[in-house]
């Protein structure tokens, strides 16, 4: 059967600054088909589709519909050409009902009559098998219902080409089945459906053809029936590239952070971490691989004390064996408590007991530095806030994904940003500015931050320099666990290597480094072990020295999870 072309893209190129997001992409979309756009994080899938939807405008190339060239400069132009995109982040007004959201912004078509709109929405919903109450308010809706509103919003405007960006990312398996059934019905109705995804099983299940993108380039478009998982993975991942990152062998590795059976729900009650268990060792870099939004951020935040857990344990082993007890962080009461558990011995190995001693004498003894821990301290981090975690003596350094949002204050200068970590240390109620300034100068020196001086607001620095300041500060506080999420995002090659080198040096200093990365080549070259996450679950733990990109790629994208033992160590 000859199929009619709905849309053609020819030689589409888009640059963001010096980054080439799409390089001469050609793509055909037919009527009555489901086309999957497959690719890794940051390969340009969404950018490409945003150009049809009117969010971005291509630097080069042409878009044709029904043989004629079209110019799409805004979402409204896209609607006029019967193209609608359902974005990953829904754009809905919470306070409005489904129907109100659906007709929002539409030009007058007769009188404003919500009853008519409700009826029309019900009609569309019935036709394609959606379940939606048009009078329900968006704030009362589940994620799946919100998505339905977005899809109907597009259909209501008469779209024939529907683009869905990662539509299954937030849905439960049952909801995914229902969505796919709807998509098939729309296809039978002659609509062209494009889904952006990285989940191979979904591609194989629902699509007719697959277009594979890699690093902004269109690799191939194949018929789904003629391909298989392995072939798709290979096209998606490409060959391994040697990056020449210096990697030392781990020495004296010890368990430092033990995560067991972590479960976490986000504010919309989506299950974002499912039974996550692993151990991070001191003296190694544990890489975390996964498609963006697979729970990496939530995992790090949970460890840093920023997310309330549903269930599970986070245990920190403070390396205190044979180290003297200090009063730096601990109260005398805590020392007495530990003493009852027979936790101390003297330098000769003889057990110490404070029983019957006065507090003054205990303090004297401890201050002499001759009271040593018998074992490492085991500390439960569950539901402790970041400050408590630090007061316990745990140096958990956290480099958030959103550099300026959570890590640094843009309007404050470098010194002040250093003080965000040390403001409690000044004499009395006053701030100590000398040490932070010295630290700021040291970071500028050692990491070659290009800035006029320590008094420059961080917001004025370039992305790479901001990142250096943030990473530099986190490292300066001698962490025992260093977590870094996408620390090289947006950095040039040289700055990236500076950061890789810093992480490696931390590892050699006996820090347990957890590195969340998006580039598999970097993960393979930098880490000692790689934990693979997929949909909030740990789907694999591999040795970075022997693993291949394809192997990790499969773990990242395959949806049927391998339950039980394999996911653990």
């Amino acid at each position: 059967m000859e199929k009619k072309l709905a849309l053609q893209m020819r030689g589409i190129t888009k640059r963001f600054g010096s980054v080439l997001a799409n390089n001469h992409v050609d793509l055909d979309v037919y009527e009555g088909e489901i086309l999957a756009i497959l690719g890794e994080n940051g390969c340009g899938k969404t950018t490409l589709m945003n150009m049809i939807a009117g969010i971005y405008y291509p630097d080069e190339g042409h878009i044709y519909m029904e043989g004629r060239e079209v110019v799409i400069r805004s979402p409204k132009d896209a609607f006029d050409h019967r193209i609608g995109m359902i974005h990953q982040h829904f754009k809905l007004v919470d306070l409005f009902t489904a129907a109100q959201n659906i007709i929002l912004g539409m030009e007058d078509q007769g009188r404003y009559n919500l009853k008519d709109v409700n009826a029309r929405v019900r009609e569309i919903a019935e036709k394609y098998g959606f379940r939606l109450d048009p009078e329900k308010k968006v704030y009362d809706m589940s994620v799946s219902e919100k998505q339905t509103v977005e899809i109907i919003k597009v259909l209501y405007r008469g779209a024939d080409v529907l683009i869905l960006d990662e539509p299954t990312a937030v849905l439960t398996p049952q909801e995914i089945d229902r969505l796919f059934a709807v998509l098939r019905k729309m296809k039978e109705d002659g609509k062209s459906i494009i889904i952006i995804t990285h989940k191979l099983n979904e591609v194989l299940e629902v699509s007719d053809r697959v277009a594979i993108l890699r690093r902004g380039e269109h690799i191939a478009t194949v018929n789904t029936a003629d391909t298989n998982e392995a072939e798709l993975t290979e096209m998606m991942m490409g060959q391994k590239i040697d990056l020449n990152i210096r990697r030392s062998d781990p020495v004296n590795v010890q368990p430092r952070l033990i995560i067991n059976g972590l479960n976490l729900y986000d504010s919309e009650r989506v299950h974002v971490l499912k039974d996550v268990s692993f151990t991070a060792y001191a003296g190694e870099i544990l890489g975390i691989a996964g498609i963006a939004g697979s729970g990496q951020r939530e995992l790090l935040e949970a460890i840093a004390g920023l997310q309330p857990l549903e269930s599970g344990e986070i245990t920190f082993r403070n390396p205190k064996k044979d180290k003297p007890v200090t009063f730096f962080h601990k109260s005398l009461r805590r020392v007495e408590e530990l003493d009852r558990e027979h936790a101390f011995h003297d330098p000769q190995g003889k057990e110490i007991s404070f029983k019957g001693m006065s507090r003054k004498d205990i303090r004297k003894w401890v201050d002499s530095g001759e009271v040593l821990f018998k074992e490492d301290e085991i500390i439960d981090l569950r539901n402790k806030n970041p400050l408590e975690i630090r007061e316990l003596g745990i140096r958990l350094s956290f480099v958030p994904e959103d550099r300026l949002g959570m890590g640094l204050v843009g309007n404050m200068d470098i010194t002040d940003n250093m003080m965000l970590r040390s403001y409690r240390k000044g004499p009395g109620g006053l701030l100590d500015r000398k040490k932070p300034r010295a630290l700021a100068e040291e970071i500028i020196q050692s990491l070659q931050v290009s800035t006029p001086g320590t008094a420059t607001p961080v917001r004025r620095l370039s992305g790479g320099n901001v990142q250096k300041v943030l990473v530099g500060r986190e490292i300066a506080f001698a962490p025992k666990v260093l977590m870094a999420a996408y620390p090289v995002r947006g950095l040039d090659i040289n700055s990236s290597y500076t950061i890789y080198h810093l992480l490696t040096r931390q590892k050699e200093n006996g820090v347990a480094v957890i590195f969340v990365g998006e580039d598999l080549d970097v993960l393979l070259a930098l880490s000692d072990r790689i934990l693979v996450m997929n949909g909030g679950r740990v789907t694999g733990l591999v040795d970075a020295r022997s693993a291949t990109k394809e192997e990790i790629g499969l773990m990242m994208t395959r949806t049927e999870s391998r339950e039980g033992g394999e996911a653990h160590e």
Binding site: F79, K91, V93, F96, Y112
Partner: protein, 317 residues
């Protein structure tokens, strides 16, 4: 003379000042802009209307034309202030609170200068009678409700109708709740913000004009307008961002506010001078209570527009 009826009608008449002020403020807030310039805008609205009256009041024009032109002058002055506010906060994305406070200081100050230029006689003769409905002539207390009072009620109801029953209202509320969403569906966010702010400011300006010319009919009346502007902003919260509820709210505020003047006239009631300010405080106290009650109930519909006070930057395109 029935003192209670007098009290009630007077409160209604007085409350119309607030209906204008808070209906105007609600329109602006529904577009996502907290306009603290309302007191200044009401001052300028009053001054603008009075200047027009001063120019044409003795020209022998028909009475209704004088009234009409005065009202239009007041409307124009308010809208001009709204234009300044919109330009600063929408186009230049200046801080809304600072801009609003600056406009209030500016408007209140300029008004004092302008009002000194007008002829005090203008406020006493002519206009006051022209604002009355003929049927209201029988009893003294109904005399107090003029054309501009009924206009205030009509404006509040119309504003509610537009906001909650029309496409334009839906789009405007979307702009105030989530400008990014509105932008994505092709609503011209800037245009809606300008329109809502300017129309709202024009309406608020009428409040100042009404108070001077109709309710007080005295040149000195301008001195209290700024304070009533603040009360109008408080009333927005009381009315839960629904213009038609400002009619109820204004009456309650009017009653509370006037009771300090009327309480002394009630036989058997004695109050000291010191008690008066305490009575005048009542409207604000009620606002606090309403805030507490609505915060506890925490119903989504009764909350301020979600993007209130935030400038909208379209993301990099």
């Amino acid at each position: 003379m029935n003192i209670w009826l007098d009290f009630f009608i007077d409160s209604l008449a007085f409350g119309a000042t607030f209906i204008y002020g808070s209906t105007g403020e609600i329109l602006t807030e529904k577009a996502g802009h907290l306009n603290l310039g309302i007191p200044g805008i009401m001052c300028m609205g009053g001054a603008g209307g009075c200047l027009v009256l001063n120019l044409i009041g003795k020209s022998g024009m028909p009475g209704f034309l004088i009234v009409l032109l005065g009202t239009l002058g007041s409307l124009a002055a308010g809208m001009l202030m709204g234009l300044i506010y919109s330009f600063l906060t929408v186009t230049l994305r200046a801080n809304q609170n600072v801009t609003g406070l600056a406009l209030t200081t500016f408007g209140a100050g300029l008004m004092k200068v302008l009002m000194k230029l007008t002829d005090p006689v203008v406020y006493l003769v002519g206009p006051k009678q022209l604002f009355r409905f003929p049927f209201a002539g029988r009893t003294d207390s109904l005399q107090r409700l003029g054309v501009l009072f009924f206009l205030a009620v009509a404006v509040a109801i119309a504003a509610s109708w537009v906001l909650f029953r029309t496409r334009a209202g839906l789009n405007l509320r979307a702009v105030g709740e989530s400008p990014a969403t509105a932008d994505a569906v092709g609503i011209n966010v800037t245009r809606y913000k300008y329109a809502a702010t300017m129309i709202g400011s024009g309406i608020a300006g009428l409040g100042g004009f009404y108070y001077i010319i109709d309710y007080m009919a005295s040149q000195e009346a301008y001195l209290s307008i700024e304070a009533f502007g603040w009360l109008s902003i408080a009333l927005v919260i009381f009315a839960l961002w629904r213009p038609h509820l400002t009619i109820l709210g204004s009456t309650v505020f009017g009653l509370l506010f006037s009771c300090s003047s009327y309480i002394a006239n009630i036989p058997g009631v004695q109050i000291t001078m010191a008690a008066k300010p305490i009575l005048k405080m009542l409207p604000y106290l009620v606002t606090v209570l309403v805030l507490i009650v609505t915060s506890i109930r925490n119903k989504r519909e009764n909350q301020p527009p979600a993007s209130l006070g935030q400038s909208y930057f379209r993301e990099e395109r």
